[in-house]
Symmetry: C2
Subunit: 141 residues, 2 copies
């Protein structure tokens, strides 16, 4: 009952980058600031680039920058890019599909829970999470 670690990484990175919408962040700076393994973070950033969430620039003054306003990027989009959303539609007994002919007592309850989490991820944006890192920077900058 948790996101993939990589999804958590992605949300953490993008929330951090949402602080300064225009700044270019290098992998090494993100690694230092957020404690995510350097090499693995590089691969993740490449993935987020291909997903269109960030824009990459090589060379000395290169780095990554968010492509869209933080308020318009919702967590569901990040999760989808990293791990997909398949696991949000899954029978709690592991059946492929027993349709809704004779749903078991848990079918609806379980569906409500999944939908509730999904809705939360759809409504929460990077702007909401950015201030988390504002607070930290006040102390450590």
């Amino acid at each position: 009952m948790r996101l993939l670690k990589t999804s958590e990484y992605a949300i953490r990175v993008l929330s951090h980058m949402a602080r300064n919408e225009a700044e270019r962040y290098s992998v090494s700076s993100l690694h230092r600031a957020l404690g995510i393994p350097y090499k693995y973070l590089g691969r993740l950033m490449r993935k987020l680039t291909k997903a269109g969430l960030v824009d990459a620039a090589r060379g000395k003054t290169g780095g990554y920058v968010i492509t869209r306003p933080p308020g318009s990027i919702h967590l569901i989009e990040i999760v989808e890019a990293v791990e997909g959303l398949e696991d949000f539609d899954h029978c709690i007994l592991g059946f492929e599909a027993c349709s809704s002919d004779q749903p078991c007592p848990l079918h609806d309850q379980w569906g409500v829970q999944r939908d509730s989490i999904r809705r939360m991820l759809e409504e929460a944006s990077l702007e909401d999470l950015a201030l988390k890192f504002e607070e930290e920077s006040e102390a450590s900058d």
Copy 2:
């Protein structure tokens, strides 16, 4: 956002066995009835035996039987036995712990979702799910 496949298997098996509280089910009969890989199911049943959820008997008339009334066995106990409950307490940004000093906007929302699912698993018993298989048997017995 789903349980481990093995947890789903376990819930499926135990719900099926909850039909007849006293009957001894062999691995092969459970395999045939529920479509769970035979060898893997054997290992799972051994695990459930060690967890005290079922009782094993060897020999010709052997098999597994539920140890307690289905109404008293709740799903949370099964999930705990199979995959543990660690993943139900986890920051959505993947941080170890930033405590509740300055929780981010998602901290409480995410906590509510986890607790809600946990409560569902605590309240749902095998008795509730047993009738799912009653219906099936009416058609195929």
